[in-house]
């Protein structure tokens, strides 16, 4: 089966400095794929590349992005523009910033359908109901400032999904929301993905969110994928030392209070500091001469793919 989204050997660079280095990633219909990593690992820029919304300074130096088998890299900007919102959509961290403060939410949702607000009204009302907004007939004519953050994110999701795109990119969709609202929005995303068969690429730094809704996970570190696999394998048996430390550094409701948390020493290298070998080598407890000298390839191990010379 052709995946809805296939990222093939994608490399991105800023002024000749590589920031994303040959990553491969596939997302199937109805599946939630989480791309996890800390700030600066390249996860957000990867999603921007999929939407072809890269900032001017960033260029795609290699690789291809396919939507249902069709290469997006070859499309003209005009053709790409016609795809956005219809076949692939994106939602962001700050719902208020994603909405136009000067137009009603009904008008903004109708825009994704390329229809007038009046013609699209029945469809918009139905979509508002589907994303769990109470009293859609009143809300449809309101402005973003009249809605809470959680409700604005529901509106953004409605606008993103009303045209039934095959792919939804969600970049930290619940990071700006409170936990009780986050639980509601994650439930909504999961239900919609399943019911509509939408492929979801979820960008997040929060391993709790991943554990909640992802089917598969790709862990990114310094522009490369360190490990990828089904969510249960990644959490039950993380094989890359970075994944192991990342999971162990999160306080859990089940561990002993005030017990020391695992710490990853040092910091993420900047792209200018990348050496020839594994990019985690400078912080890795298991690193040796081979790790510093040679880049470990991503290789299958159990259910997962792991880029580490020592993983077993």
């Amino acid at each position: 089966m052709t995946p809805v989204l296939a990222i093939e050997n994608l490399s991105l660079s800023i002024a000749g400095v590589p920031v994303v280095d040959g990553i491969n990633l596939g997302v199937d219909a109805g599946e939630v794929m989480a791309l996890v990593g800390e700030s600066g690992c390249g996860k957000s820029i990867t999603s921007a590349a999929v939407m072809r919304l890269l900032p001017g300074a960033v260029s795609q130096t290699a690789g291809d992005i396919r939507l249902a088998g069709e290469s997006l890299s070859r499309l003209s900007e005009r053709q790409m523009q016609a795809m956005r919102g219809r076949r692939l959509s994106m939602i962001f961290q700050e719902p208020q910033a994603a909405l136009d403060p000067l137009s009603t939410i009904g008008t903004q949702i109708a825009e994704s359908l390329r229809q007038s607000a009046r013609a699209a009204r029945p469809a918009v009302l139905h979509m508002l109901d589907e994303v769990g907004i109470a009293d859609p007939a009143r809300r449809i004519d309101q402005y973003p400032f009249e809605l809470s953050g959680g409700m604005c994110q529901r509106v953004v999701i409605a606008a993103a999904l009303i045209a039934r795109p095959e792919l939804l990119l969600a970049d930290e969709p619940t990071t700006a929301l409170d936990v009780t609202i986050q639980a509601q929005i994650l439930d909504l995303l999961r239900t919609l993905a399943r019911e509509r068969g939408t492929a979801v690429l979820l960008i997040t730094h929060d391993v709790g969110v991943v554990a909640d809704i992802a089917d598969r996970v790709a862990v990114m570190y310094a522009g490369r994928i360190a490990e990828a696999g089904p969510v249960h394998s990644i959490f039950a048996q993380p094989r890359h030392p970075y994944t192991q430390l990342l999971l162990a550094s999160v306080p859990r409701l089940s561990d002993v209070p005030k017990s020391p948390l695992a710490v990853i020493p040092g910091r993420v290298p900047t792209p200018l500091e990348f050496g020839p070998g594994c990019r985690f080598a400078s912080r890795c407890p298991r690193a040796d001469a081979q790790c510093v000298a040679q880049t470990p390839p991503l290789r299958p191990l159990g259910d997962s793919d792991v880029a580490c010379w020592h993983a077993a």
Partner: protein, 316 residues
């Protein structure tokens, strides 16, 4: 023994639209014993930051009492406040905006000591170096500027500056929320380590329950300007009694897919009401799964249940 912090019937109101005051903090009382860490949790808009700002004197309390080591903050004159501020120091969420970009970190840490005339010259330099070591930085870092540090290291600098005067009370407002996961663990380990070494009381404000559980001895849960529950951390997390506390705990995603997906979901419906016009009776009744007629009219009294206190008609 005098508690490090005693708050009684504290109100912090802000002028709102149509002459309705926003009652950000609306009758809150609690104490923090010397050497103890209290976690203040709640969602955005519940008033937790207004409360911590009132404690350090960044906003004025409308009424009520705030005592730091027995000294009244509310209505105190400038001289008294200045004296008192040596006893309470604050760590904010974003270390990048907490440090002067034009000042070396050594100068930033030395400033509170200089201002109070506590050390000069070589003694000051030694004191700054000791503080840097205390938070896990190296003495030779003193000459560097904030931009030469990562976010986690900057938060260490901010903590060192807050510790410089050896305050009786440290107020931390979301101290790790802006940090990456691996760095967050480093700062949490540092805070736990400082607690045991310095025996300093801490008011730890956070929306993140797993972080609060990790570092706090006591927990107070705030909703719409009021406390709904206060209990020792172990008890609150094991047997949450208020329906809001239960909903909050159920909403925290567990970083284990098996545990998380087996959870019975109690997603709280609805949103937080407007604090300028809170619902009558129990403020939580509009979202509460067990609300009855009584809750819509009568405000629940603060009462002892088990080892904690709870404001709910039906909590047992």
């Amino acid at each position: 023994m005098t508690p490090a912090l005693a708050i009684r019937d504290l109100h912090v109101h802000f002028p709102g639209r149509k002459r309705l005051a926003v009652r950000a903090v609306d009758g809150v009382s609690f104490e923090i014993a010397a050497g103890e860490t209290l976690g203040l949790v709640g969602e955005s808009g519940c008033g937790k930051s207004s409360l911590s700002n009132a404690v350090v004197g960044l906003v004025a309390a409308t009424s009520g009492s705030i005592e730091i080591q027995g000294q009244q903050v509310v209505g105190a004159n400038r001289a008294a406040l200045r004296h008192m501020r040596a006893n309470v120091q604050m760590v904010f969420q974003d270390p990048a905006t907490s440090l002067n970009p034009r000042m070396t970190i050594g100068a930033a840490i030395a400033e509170p000591l200089l201002v109070r005339g506590l050390a000069t010259g070589a003694a000051l330099r030694l004191r700054v170096e000791a503080l840097l070591e205390e938070v896990g930085l190296r003495p030779e870092h003193a000459g560097r500027m904030p931009h030469q540090f990562s976010g986690g290291q900057r938060q260490r600098v901010v903590i060192a500056r807050a510790l410089a005067l050896r305050p009786a009370l440290l107020v931390c407002d979301e101290p790790v929320s802006a940090l990456d996961v691996s760095v967050r663990a480093q700062i949490l380990n540092l805070l736990v380590d400082l607690q045991s070494r310095l025996k300093m009381a801490t008011l730890f404000v956070s929306h993140d329950l797993s972080v609060v559980r990790h570092v706090c001895d006591q927990v107070a849960v705030m909703y719409l300007g009021r406390l709904v529950e206060r209990a020792p951390a172990a008890e609150l997390f094991a047997t949450p009694r208020h329906p809001y506390t239960r909903a909050l705990l159920a909403s925290v995603p567990d970083p284990d897919p098996i545990v998380q997906r087996a959870k019975s979901r109690v997603p709280l419906s609805g949103e937080i009401p407007n604090p300028a016009n809170p619902p009558p009776g129990c403020r939580f009744h509009t979202r509460c799964p067990i609300a009855a007629d009584l809750c819509r009219t009568a405000e629940p009294a603060w009462r002892r249940v088990g080892g904690g206190d709870v404001a709910c008609h039906f909590a047992t």
